[in-house]
């Protein structure tokens, strides 16, 4: 296995992990907000969050490119600050995080919805302000669902292709497992593609093992 292939695998796993970490705070916040009481504009938020799931990844990639490209509304502003997203590793993380977020939100939301409200109410009567209730009661009780959502998000991030190709390109610094497999098959380098494919399977299995460990550890700790 040549060093370039190893680098691609490490890079992809690293970026997918970073993307998962990045998607957790907004994902948990969105899941919480959607799980609790209805508010004006809730349907709009739900739709927006589901978009990356429903649109073809290339379409999502196109939207991100238009937004974050140097000539786009967000990209133009970032450019002035000297920050480049398109064609850098940041674009890889962005694409992965956007695509994984809906899966995290769904799983986490269902976790929050299943918590008996009584626990949160009693915690409040014991003097806990809403933030403390969330951190000490709601989040721990929903942790298995959140964890499951994070694993889903990670898997989606690792397998992400369409949007990544669009905003990160296939430069040596931004090639992921998925885009490399594609590029190698397109140029007839089947041997390299097969090696990466095997690596992808190994990582997927590892992700499942880790997620099982996490969920059973969570159970035992408490």
């Amino acid at each position: 296995m040549n060093p370039e292939l190893i680098r691609v695998v490490m890079f992809s796993v690293g970026m997918a992990t970073l993307a998962t970490v990045v998607m957790l705070p907004p994902g948990i916040a969105l899941a919480w907000v959607l799980a609790r009481r209805p508010f004006p504009g809730r349907t709009a938020v739900e739709t927006l969050v589901s978009l990356p799931l429903v649109l073809p990844p290339v379409a999502t990639g196109l939207i991100l490119l238009r937004l974050f490209g140097r000539l786009g509304p967000v990209g133009r502003w970032l450019d002035r600050l000297g920050i480049e997203v398109v064609f850098t590793w940041k674009a890889v993380v962005l694409a992965m995080a956007i695509m994984g977020l809906p899966l995290l939100v769904r799983a986490a939301r269902s976790g929050f919805e299943q918590i008996d409200r009584r626990y949160e109410q009693i915690a409040a009567t014991l003097g806990a302000r809403p933030a403390r209730v969330f951190l000490t009661i709601s989040l721990p009780l929903a942790s298995r669902a959140v964890m499951a959502g994070a694993v889903l998000g990670f898997s989606r991030a690792l397998g992400e292709f369409g949007a990544t190709v669009m905003i990160a390109g296939t430069l040596p610094g931004t090639r992921t497992l998925s885009t490399s497999i594609y590029a190698y098959t397109q140029t007839g380098q089947d041997a390299a593609a097969t090696v990466l494919l095997a690596a992808a399977v190994v990582v997927a299995v590892a992700a499942v093992v880790v997620s099982n460990r996490l969920s059973s550890a969570g159970h035992g700790d408490r």
């Binding site: 008996d116 626990y119 109410q121 409040a124 009567t125 014991l126 003097g127 806990a128 302000r129």
Partner: protein
Amino acid sequence: MARVPIVLDFTVHQGPFTLEVHQRFEAQAVALFGPSGAGKTTVLDSIAGLRRPSVGVIEVGGHVLFDSERHLDLRPHARHVGYVPQDVALFPHMSVRKNIFYGIGRGVSPSLDTVLRLLEISPLLDRRITGLSGGERQRVAIARALMSGPNLLLLDEPLAAVEQSLRERILPYIECVRDELKIPLIYVSHSLDEVRRIADRLLTIEEGWVVESTTGHPRLAEGRVLR
């Protein structure tokens, strides 16, 4: 015996029904009596701040917890009202110790040693919630509520989930709490025996109205027929 002025003067909706509560009194222990579904839990929820009455005033010991006219509605965490709900609701992901200590720091709590002694739960401190018996859970829940330093303690059918034989054993704990810690109680039950032993004032819910049945000393006089 400490008697605390309590004002419960509000209207709250329970599903399609309305509950009217208009009582002012000074009492150490008040019982709320009535058949299931009548709205007893709704009354407690309103006092704790978990439900908002449409109009009215709630005052405990001179502190205003709710006043619709002045747009005052203290959040539950600010009300200093301890709540032991019917389903006990001990936090399943924490140990007994963590549960009991959860509310510490909010108000002026009674001495931990006293509470542990009164409820006889010292040996339980490092246990998980899942292994506890019904009676043990009740006592832990009461201890938890007490350690948050409440000015008022709400108990919703504390003995309902406890087997008959055990009830006799637990009632004294509650009497201890009433007598030694001097925290006013509102005690919901559908058992007349419990009510007679605990309360020095009785309220019943009749067709959406919370009415006073009788006040007496030492405990309840025979009085109105209670459904």
